[in-house]
């Protein structure tokens, strides 16, 4: 039985195949509308995340399956002190597959050790969020028609941003990828990612504090939110939260076919005046998320 805890659990061939299936679902949704008839997905959200949970539930419903679960720990037996291991053993009796979000890092891995059904990590603290990375990859593939030969700008919180670390790890496997790392000093990409992922794979990258410096070179601009919950010191959060605000003016030098991504939710980092620009892909990105999750559920349930 296969689980998805970390994007590295999937080979490049498996990712390419998921993208292929997701694109086929987009083209022929009716072909897939009963693939999971009689199957049940449990969404166990030990911390609230409306959009990820709804994306998973919508994905399963679109495949003809059913959903059950909870949306916060207080409405589960965890509030009575039950361990992750015990919860998973019990829930596994009632469903065919589990999508799980938990504030503690490594919780889905613990669940995967004990589970009798496949586990999908739907985010564990600041650690992993593999289905967001799959969403990002499908978005890039659909918007740019390729996953190689790209210059990718990553902007904002590159220190705590798990989506950024996972995206770097995933994109490093493709040919001729360059990164522009845009962040304030306090939120720079950690050394272990620079050395352990970028330099280890001989990936070209540069660092800047100025969002406009390399704007004209970018094929992708991936904006991130500075997340309050990742800071122990509120003063640091307040100082850094509005460091970058992308607006129409800052896009003047950008390529006509730039693709602006954001894992959402956004706060202030992308001005609403960018939303109507055809280069703003972040709402389409949320839609792609449902399709790649449909492809993933099919794969993990081994539905042909």
């Amino acid at each position: 039985m296969k689980h998805l805890i970390d994007i590295k659990d999937l080979s490049i061939e498996e990712i390419d195949n998921l993208i292929k299936v997701a694109k086929d679902i987009i083209a022929n949704p009716e072909k897939y509308s009963h693939k999971c008839d009689g199957k049940k997905l449990a969404t166990l959200f030990f911390e609230p995340s409306t959009r990820t949970r709804l994306s998973f539930e919508s994905a399963m419903l679109s495949l003809g399956g059913n959903v059950l679960g909870f949306s916060e720990a207080s409405s589960s037996s965890v509030s009575k002190g039950e361990s992750v291991s015990d919860t998973i053993r019990v829930v596994g009796c009632y469903c065919d597959i589990i999508a799980m979000r938990h504030p503690k890092e490594g919780a889905p891995f613990v669940a995967s050790i004990k589970s009798t059904v496949p586990i999908i990590n739907a985010g564990d603290g600041g650690h992993n969020h593999p289905t967001q990375t799959l969403t990002d990859l499908l978005t890039i593939e659909c918007e740019k028609n390729r996953l190689d030969n790209l210059t990718i700008g990553l902007c904002g919180d590159l220190k705590f941003g798990r989506t950024v670390h996972s995206l770097i790890t995933a994109m490093c496997r493709y040919k001729n990828i360059k990164f522009v790392l845009i962040s304030p000093d306090e939120l720079k990409l950690p050394e272990y990612v620079k050395k352990g992922v970028l330099e280890k794979n001989n990936i070209e990258y540069c660092e800047t504090k100025d969002i406009e410096e390399y704007m004209g070179d970018l094929d992708i601009l991936y904006m991130t939110r500075v997340q309050k919950e990742r800071f122990f010191n509120e003063a640091d959060y307040i100082r850094l939260k509005d460091y970058y605000i992308l607006n129409k003016n800052k896009l003047k030098k950008a390529k006509k076919d730039l693709c602006i991504l954001h894992p959402l939710p956004r706060v202030n980092e992308i001005s609403t005046d960018v939303d109507d620009d055809p280069r703003a892909c972040y709402f389409r990105q949320a839609n792609y998320g449902r399709y790649i999750r449909m492809a993933l559920i099919l794969k993990m349930l081994e539905v042909k």
Binding site: E105, G106, F109
Partner: protein, 142 residues
Amino acid sequence: MNIDSIKNGYVIDHIRAGRGMQIYEALHLNDLDCQVAIITNAKSQKMGKKDIIKIDREIPIDIDALGFIDHNITVNIVKDDKIIEKRKLMLPEKVVNIAKCNNPRCITSIEKDLDQIFILTDRENEVYRCKYCEMSLKQHNE
């Protein structure tokens, strides 16, 4: 200061000064009823100061635990008053229940009965990462 030589057992040498007690505890030497000597701040030409532990019994030694705490240690195996083997240590690929993850966001901070597992991810820089949250164990060898 004189400490009797041992007949059959171990002399754990070249322990970085101040780490003797940590090794004493990691090897659960307080559970033994044989003679165990801990020498701290012994003079060393190579290290300046070092700790030494002598154990007067042949017991199973957790080499992984020793290698993880300080891989520069030498384990001398003594038989019939003679050193028959000097064993050099290496950093183990994986250690279980020797160190604890300090990341307050790690699942090991709340879930009961989980083994504390660390994996060697960078041998050159001696970096171990928690199996669950992947946080590096920064205090290692500092």
